[in-house]
Symmetry: C2
Subunit: 343 residues, 2 copies
Amino acid sequence: MKFGLFGSAQAKRGQGPDVDSSKGYRDWLEYNTEAEALGFYSSFAVEHHFTGFGQVSATLNLLTYLAAQTSTIRLGTAVMVLPWHNPVLLAEQAATVDLLSGGRLDMGVGKGYRFNEFKGFGIPMEEADGRFEESLKLLKKSWTEDQPWTYDGEFWSYEDVVVEPPTAQKPHPPFWMGAGSPASIEKVAERGYNLLLDQFAPPATINDRIDLFRKAVEARGRMFDASEVGVARGLYVAKDAGDRDQAIENRINGRRRVDNLAQRPDGGNKASIMSYDDTIETTAEAAIYGTVDEIAEKIQTLHDSGIRYLLFADGGSGIEGLRTFSKEIIPAFSDADAAEAAE
Amino acid sequence: MKFGLFGSAQAKRGQGPDVDSSKGYRDWLEYNTEAEALGFYSSFAVEHHFTGFGQVSATLNLLTYLAAQTSTIRLGTAVMVLPWHNPVLLAEQAATVDLLSGGRLDMGVGKGYRFNEFKGFGIPMEEADGRFEESLKLLKKSWTEDQPWTYDGEFWSYEDVVVEPPTAQKPHPPFWMGAGSPASIEKVAERGYNLLLDQFAPPATINDRIDLFRKAVEARGRMFDASEVGVARGLYVAKDAGDRDQAIENRINGRRRVDNLAQRPDGGNKASIMSYDDTIETTAEAAIYGTVDEIAEKIQTLHDSGIRYLLFADGGSGIEGLRTFSKEIIPAFSDADAAEAAE
């Protein structure tokens, strides 16, 4: 079983000489460099804009810095929101990270869902699909065409370009896509990409989605590989039940804050990530919040249902939580996989 | 006297398993990390696209990686070509580098001059000025406004945004601008930016430009500081006269290759960087190519004329050349400055 990380750093504007805005970024970098040493396989970072609380915006720059400080951890975007970017510039930036990191980039892509970001960039939400498709085509073209090409599209046009530098991974870094609805999941399989499942969906929903994805992959004559589905989950290594319950409450509040940024003024944002109940019960069920024993049990359940790749969003237990997880949990599931492989 | 670097790395696409496209980038990074240890003050990297020979395209990503490997060297762009970039995304990327590097970003900006890049991005050269001015305004706004702002411009519009993360340097990283014509130089002084002078202009022209800039700065009631003018020059530490002459010939050929990319089909590119003779004599005069003694003499002449900041474009003597320069030349000019300061 593979364990990765999923999250964001915070760098806040502030007043006065005592404010160190870089601290949030430096903490995130330390957290990730130690996570690599603790056996974590990947780190996926979000891209968000205009949040007012300092979520990571220049994701590929932050990952580039992390690349220089690490040697094995995969560097993921979760996700780059294609409608915001000139696809050729994005291809160049991503290729540069891939090249400098020795081929460690996992290119998570999405079409965006937060209303305040569409509004901020002056892009109608209705254009999200069209922009996403065109950008994706141009990313692939940029990474794979060795001869000058010309493109005249709906949103972007280029004439006689060959995009540099080349990626390290061939033909290009793997694409990862978030999906929730059956149609979206089918589409990810159709494209041949890896799948990201969100951190708030109930376990039963996750199982249904993986099942659907597996069938869709197999229906296209390919082998299904469970490590190509990254399941995001909140992680909090709690001291005791009270500590766990407080962390769950914090999680609910944090999620509501983010949902407010994403919501449209008419309340009509249909993104599946915003569709789940946020009661204490559903939150506790989906999140891997608990004592070591509770966490081991939850991971076992996920493992039993066929999940092989978890991406943890830190619920506040931080690097100490990862140390505990690395020591108490990871070895058991490496053994489980080894035993399975030997069967 | 301060000595910095100016240049590009090359990452080529190639065929076959033996091609390591990352080598050019890794060499550049090694060169720069050692340069820091050798006492070089800064490294300015170009931004270019679609060259076919792998010049750096994602400049801020490469600088981010270098930032992680260094601790004092200033990280410069020479220059970010504003018309290619969404100014808010660029502000986020640059702020991230500035934040992660502890405030070491020098933001060189330009409007672009290579025809093949305008053509590639589908941007008319006639829009260069308008795009540059609007982007510059938006960069500053992004870096300095703490409250949500809205902007409806000719090329870009944003609604209700606050751009994150904040920069480390306040109010923002220093701007550097290349300029050649008297009007452009006046404009740089008017803006209050630092000045970059190109590597091909004859020494007499450089002196005229600095003189003009000094007067323009003083006319606005500010103190002129010679370290705010970065003079780019080719550097080649030659073994002997034959070695030097060969390097000069290579320099002429390299420059012609780049000029071909920049030229318009009608031959009408009026950029000042393309206006100088490229004879052996003029090239030898402008470039700091020679034996150690010849180089010392050239630097002395530049120092005598009031220049205090040189940015070296490597003519091929590489890190060995920098080692020699650091050992044989830098101490003499530190002493000269110290003596001057004591006067």
